[in-house]
């Protein structure tokens, strides 16, 4: 279970020295409320070239942040996508200028429920407005203006990052030359809503949560948040991958303890994932971001459904799915391809054969990374012309 030291770290972590812009322009949210003068935290890697045609925007997933590559300055751990982004990597920062912003509702510097509500002088907690993927994406558009980028070479993202990307392409059809949605969906499935609800209920069932007011006591519903993270981690693996990785192996012991301690390696793994998560993430942020994912249904936003959403797209798409991903299945990814095809868009699709489940997009999967690199490099050659 999470250590006190870890908790101390969360409350005192230094997130002041990170790049931020203040977005003055009022943003009317889907829920009807308006936010303005809010912070949007971001990070960039590599250099924007003179022609400003080598920019790649990355959208992060549910528990990600803007620290894609290198070392995350807050957690001191590797950036969440170091397998794909960095010097000489598939998304080569020697060649490309990579941008990632923290989502609003998050907890790494962009406006979120742990920020101070100027009206009450206390953290928002549940007074934070319920946000949507569309709100998240619209909040990020100003960042491109700030960086002086008219059109991106490419935009990409996996999981919730892919959902943001689809929204981005639909809302701003001329902002990126190419797009790579990875392991995502155009509308959140019943199973995914159910899993998110399980995560939320775990947090809300923790008495420390206190209707989202735990910040008054300078604490976190760490038990509930850890369980929420465990649910997530189960869904990111595949049955076969989990069996191969853990099987029935015991955790540093010869036999059962006849107790409820973590006898099995898989238990120990989940507990570790849970406890390290509470040190870097805010419980209310999980509630808000999972809600945004659940509300995501791109076809609902357009009268003619998904085909209409992608109408008049000049963006060149590459959709990627993973064969053993049961969270965002090949079928769901293919539905995106079919809609893009039906709307006449330029779309490629590849299903990567792997037993690593949904997590595959974060791992060192050679076939996946090769495909990523091949597409981006060939798009750059075309975009330059």
């Amino acid at each position: 279970m999470p250590s006190l030291a870890g908790l101390f770290f969360w409350m005192n972590r230094k997130i002041e020295n990170i790049n931020k812009i203040t977005i003055a322009k009022p943003l009317k949210l889907d829920c009807g409320k308006t936010i303005k003068d809010f912070p949007l935290a971001y990070e960039t890697y590599g250099k924007l070239n003179e022609n400003k045609n080598n920019a790649i925007l990355v959208f992060h997933a549910l528990t990600g942040d803007q620290f894609v590559a290198g070392t995350n300055p807050v957690t001191k751990k590797d950036g969440w996508w170091v397998t794909a982004v960095g010097p000489g990597k598939a998304i080569d920062t020697n060649k490309y200028f990579v941008i990632c912003a923290n989502v609003i509702g998050g907890c790494m510097g962009s406006l979120g429920p742990s920020d101070i509500n100027k009206e009450t002088n206390q953290p928002y907690g549940l007074d934070f407005p319920v946000i949507t993927i569309k709100d998240i994406v619209r909040a990020q558009e100003s960042l491109l203006d700030h960086l002086g980028i008219k059109k991106l070479l490419c935009a990409t993202g996996g999981s919730m990052g892919g959902m943001q990307l689809l929204q981005f392409c639909a809302t701003f059809p001329d902002k990126t030359f190419s797009a790579i949605p990875i392991a995502c969906s155009s509308s959140h499935s019943a199973q995914n809503i159910a899993l998110n609800e399980l995560a939320r209920q775990a947090i809300m069932a923790d008495p420390v949560w206190d209707n989202g007011k735990y910040f008054l006591k300078n604490t976190q519903p760490k038990n509930g948040l850890a369980v929420a993270r465990m649910v997530g981690h189960i869904s990111y693996l595949s049955e076969q991958g989990m069996q191969e990785k853990f099987g029935r192996k015991l955790q540093e012991k010869a036999d059962y303890e006849f107790s409820f301690n973590a006898d099995f390696q898989v238990e120990s793994y989940l507990r570790h994932q849970g406890s390290s998560f509470v040190e870097r993430f805010d419980a209310n942020s999980v509630l808000y971001i999972t809600r945004a994912m659940d509300y995501f249904d791109l076809s609902k936003q357009y009268k003619g459904g998904l085909v209409e959403a992608f109408k008049n797209q000049l963006t060149k798409f590459l959709v990627i799915s993973f064969s053993s991903d049961w969270l965002y299945t090949t079928k769901e990814n293919k539905d995106i391809v079919i809609a893009l095809n039906a709307s006449g868009a330029d779309v490629s699709y590849s299903e990567i054969e792997t037993d690593k489940g949904h997590d595959s997009f974060l791992l060192n999967e050679p076939e996946f990374l090769k495909t990523l690199k091949g597409f981006i490099d060939s798009m750059y050659e075309k975009f330059k012309k």
Binding site: I338, T371, G374, S378, E381
Partner: protein, 197 residues
């Protein structure tokens, strides 16, 4: 580029829109894009081939033509190309119908089982033929529904599929095939290329 692709490329007008079903490593598409300014899309089953196409900057969808042609809208391409794969499907007739639904015209090429070497192999040796265009043995061949140029010609007529042009290929020689020279061309062509629809 192999002779078959040259013949197919010649059949395709510049600036048209082409779907290459079973596009392999994208050689044909690459040629069409660069030399004829044709807008291409590929459908390919094999992961490595898909990657090759993506490296070349070609648009390709990984998938099985037998089950996944439904995703392409009606008449959404000027031409659909299917090179030497028709005989490998479980239901070649269904696939052919799908191709005709998607493309305004369809180009289908088949290895000709009526070619004289194939016939003599079976007649004189009593063994399933192994040739350049049919390199596999009976137990590992992907070809489930072998046919001859004559078979496909008759099939198109029976199904009221409009035959626009049929070309017989033997090494570097090509010749037009019509109803009146069908018997002889069926004997001396290794490959038949049909422009239909």
């Amino acid at each position: 580029m192999k002779q078959e692709f040259k013949v197919i490329a010649d059949l395709l007008p510049n600036n048209s829109r082409v779907l290459d079903v079973g596009c392999g490593d994208g050689s044909l598409m690459n040629f069409l894009v660069k030399e004829k300014n044709i807008e291409t899309r590929g459908l390919e089953l094999d992961q490595n081939n898909v990657q090759e196409c993506i490296y070349k900057g070609l648009t390709v969808i990984q998938g099985n033509a037998e089950t996944e042609l439904y995703q392409f809208p009606n008449q959404s391409f000027d031409y659909v190309v299917l090179s030497q794969t028709l005989q490998a499907f479980y239901k070649p007739d269904k696939v052919l119908n799908e191709l005709l639904r998607i493309g305004k015209s369809v180009i289908v090429s088949i290895p000709n089982f009526g070619y004289w070497k194939v016939r003599t192999s079976l007649l004189f040796f009593g063994k399933m033929p192994i040739t350049k265009t049919l390199p596999n043995t009976w137990f590992n061949t992907p070809n489930l529904h072998m046919c001859t140029i004559k078979d496909l010609y008759n099939y198109c007529e029976d199904q009221n599929i409009n035959i626009k042009k049929v070309i017989g290929v033997n090494e570097n020689n090509t010749s037009l095939i019509k109803r009146k020279n069908l018997e002889i061309k069926n004997l001396f062509s290794k490959l038949g290329i049909f422009l239909i629809g």
